[in-house]
Symmetry: C2
Subunit: 253 residues, 2 copies
DNA sequence: GCAGCACATTGATCCGGATCAATCACGGCC
DNA sequence: GGCCGTGATTGATCCGGATCAATGTGCTGC
């Protein structure tokens, strides 16, 4: 570890902010980049994609990108920062549905009900690309690659919903959660072994259907077992293989 | 209750088998019926939908419609009978992902991975409409109603995945499960208060992340409380409002 | 600097549901 | 018919994680 950091501290990881893109190209980590590449950057349809996208933000930690019941008009790709989606039942209890990193898309579950079924809340300073959904659908009809990409994104999210399914131990859940995050950061080109947890222990616990105290205890145990190094919300995975083994029942492959 | 049934026995409910449709019309309960109606039965594109659909079955209880790892080529609409989808981890433990009734569609979660990520197993004698997905996508490009219908089906399934989320008591889960089934039967025109549970207690328990014994106990308690009448797998809801109240935290509205 | 507050950690106790176990009911099959 | 396997029910015990509680730690604002 570099000596420019105080002893006992983890260095700040590189900030997970996606490239902004420029006037003719889209963000490298953008959820639609593969669709764009497949269609070819020079196709005239891409000019339309330029038209229907709008950069929004910044949102500060705690601010809502959308709220339950808002009419559905657009989906949002995270350009930078982190978001949680959550439902709040009528007794006021919160239920975290997921965390979204740069390059990932929120709002897909609002297509059917035509209203957002959940809140989206920024966990830190966050930026988005806003895609008008009617315009996106129209484009999808003309550009097969865009249609296919939408189908794939929807289908992919169906798969991830089952991460927290099953009756698994607290250790399994936490290990799988950390490895899932690591894989998603890696997929977007960020470090897979050292990153910042944008969400509180309470949010992690809520998402994993555990108590915050349990998450805290498991993380402490993992640290004692030299599986991770953790200091507040700065995390380093010391033994990814060991973590994968613990969480294997919940992880793909 | 009709006297033609022995005392203490529930009568057989009407069999939930969807209309087969005929050569020019589709099944009334079909997952695509609304798309067809929106597009108009007389449109030439509908002739294409006729071409890409294929009636398959019957499958007997326990037979697989598809298996984990099978290449994804088609989605299946349940025409009659009931199906469970499940994942089996490498230790051999089963994880039930969902139950599908006539009019519902399985296989959507295979679009992204391009291979089925789970098994689909018939719970009783079951029939399907098989829709070639490449053909379906091509049609969706030309018929906006079909594209929109696919988006809506995918989005809808995203919403239902969160039914079993949250840490809820066994009573809440079972009550919500029964009311969910009732609503889905009602949506397809079957009785919402009297139906057959095609799945074993073990399957229900697995789906709800409970032990089979717990499901059995909860059902017995509900019977003692006059909320339901249950005899083996024949179920009658005596107090749907009471059940809705118990399961409200997991149910929409 | 310090007060105030939200979040995190660690310990002690409790409880809902899992697990183990026994019995029972029901078909299927020879 | 009788046998056997599967599934359902009910009871007894146990345990993982929730809950309650106390303390620690790091921001933010004054």
């Amino acid at each position: 570890m570099s000596s420019k950091y105080p002893a006992g501290r983890l260095p700040e990881p590189p900030s997970p902010i996606a490239d902004d893109g420029d006037e003719t190209h889209f963000c490298g980590t953008c959820a639609f980049s593969s669709a764009c590449i497949a269609a070819g950057y020079d196709k005239p349809e891409l000019a339309e994609l330029q038209c229907l996208v709008e950069h929004v933000g910044p949102f500060r930690a705690g601010e809502h990108i959308f709220r339950t019941g808002d009419p559905f008009r657009a989906i949002f790709a995270v350009r930078g920062g982190t978001v949680k989606t959550r439902m709040v039942d009528k007794e006021g209890r919160e239920q975290v549905l997921g965390f979204y990193l740069p390059g990932e898309v929120i709002g897909l579950n609002a297509i059917y009900p035509e209203h957002f079924p959940c809140d989206a809340v920024a966990l830190d300073t966050a930026f988005f690309c806003r895609f008008s959904f009617p315009a996106m659908s129209a484009l999808a009809s003309r550009v097969p690659a865009v249609q296919q990409h939408l189908f794939r994104m929807l289908s992919k999210e169906l798969g991830t919903a089952s991460l927290l399914a099953g009756d698994h131990s607290a250790d399994e859940r936490v290990a799988a959660f950390l490895m899932d995050l690591a894989g998603r950061y890696a997929a977007r080109g960020f470090s897979a072994t050292r990153f910042h947890l944008s969400m509180s222990r309470g949010d992690i616990a809520n998402y994993l259907r555990l108590a915050a105290e349990t998450v805290s205890r498991v993380l402490s145990r993992f640290r004692n077992q030299k599986l991770i190094q953790i200091e507040g919300r700065e995390l380093q995975l010391l033994d990814p293989a060991g973590l994968r083994k613990i969480g294997q029942a919940l992880l793909p492959d």
